[in-house]
Amino acid sequence: MKCTVCKGPAVIDLARHNAHFCTDHFLRFCRDQVVKAVDEFAMIAPGERVLVAVSGGKDSLALWDLLLELGHEADGLYLGLGIGEYSDESGRYARAFAAARGVRLVEIDLPADHGFDVPTAARATRRVPCSACGLSKRHLFDQAAREGGYDVVATGHNLDDEAAVLFGNVLRWDEAYLARQLPVLAARDGFPRKVKPLVRLSEREMAAYCVVRRIDYQVEECPMAVGNKHLGYKEALNEVELRSPGSKHAFYFGFLARAAERFADAALADGGVLGACERCGAPTTNDVCAFCRLSEKASAHEPVPVPRPRTRR
């Protein structure tokens, strides 16, 4: 198989683009897709400071690497979730990446800094673990961006992530979530702008990027995410993609082009009047923000053991 561009030996075939690429042209393809997403959706203006939410997995490390390669001023933010060995290992990958490149990694540790971990928060609040985790991440990313004076928070959500979430939201016709499923969420009332520069790149392409760039990342899946709906949606969409390459892109970008605007009113209806949380000062529509309520319950709960990490097939 030869590179579509230079006819040298290809290392990857991308059915959805009907293309094969050698190492150099695959890296150029990834950079071009990020530039296109950043420009098309006005994600990052020249000179803006970016805080990259880094988990130690392939997507966030690839994103950080790509933004640095493209000349953006990008620091990393690693959030220790207290998920046993899984968190210990993910932190090591994030630190190793930052140390190798001499870039700044801000660290927040849920157990040390806030007195609880994700497994305990999930049990204490009767949420699924990914919900407790997501709530904590949103709050702490926003807070770190505000306190650090960053213009924008960038996350490693890729095309597969967005297509899978869209699939789930459409299955339930969840208008409020559909209204917010955009590559950019504008800054407002104490919330920083949030951007997803990897929306034009698939999960497989991001893993391949890390292999080609020799970026060590945590391959192991989070033990708390095993069996969640999101993973099931991804598997279902990949079955469709196998038979009809380009389907995930057409689904997500078709939504953005032809349907997203129709849900804008749901976003407006979903928002209440924002004030400041009486405990932490974060913007909230209640007296106490959701994170402080979760933190209070989780801190008072008996610690919950972490499931053993699972090595995936």
């Binding site: 290392v11 990914c130 949103r138 996350t155 969420l185 991001m206 292999v211 391959v219 598997e235 995936r312």
Partner: protein
């Protein structure tokens, strides 16, 4: 797991009943495309690429 070669990457994935959208095949730390021929004594890693958990922010 040991399988007899030579075998194309696509054939390997079909044999393992794996979706080629969900994995990468790596030989000696290098990616190999779908039509690459794997030799009988090659050692390859079939790496899953699907991950997912908290949807944030």
């Amino acid at each position: 797991m040991e399988l007899a070669g030579p075998m194309r990457v696509h054939a390997l994935l079909d044999r393992l009943e794996l979706n080629r959208e969900s994995v990468l095949v790596i030989r000696n730390d290098e990616l190999v495309p779908g039509d690459a021929l794997l030799a009988d004594d090659d050692v390859v890693e079939v790496r899953p690429v699907i991950s997912g958990g908290a949807v944030a922010p």
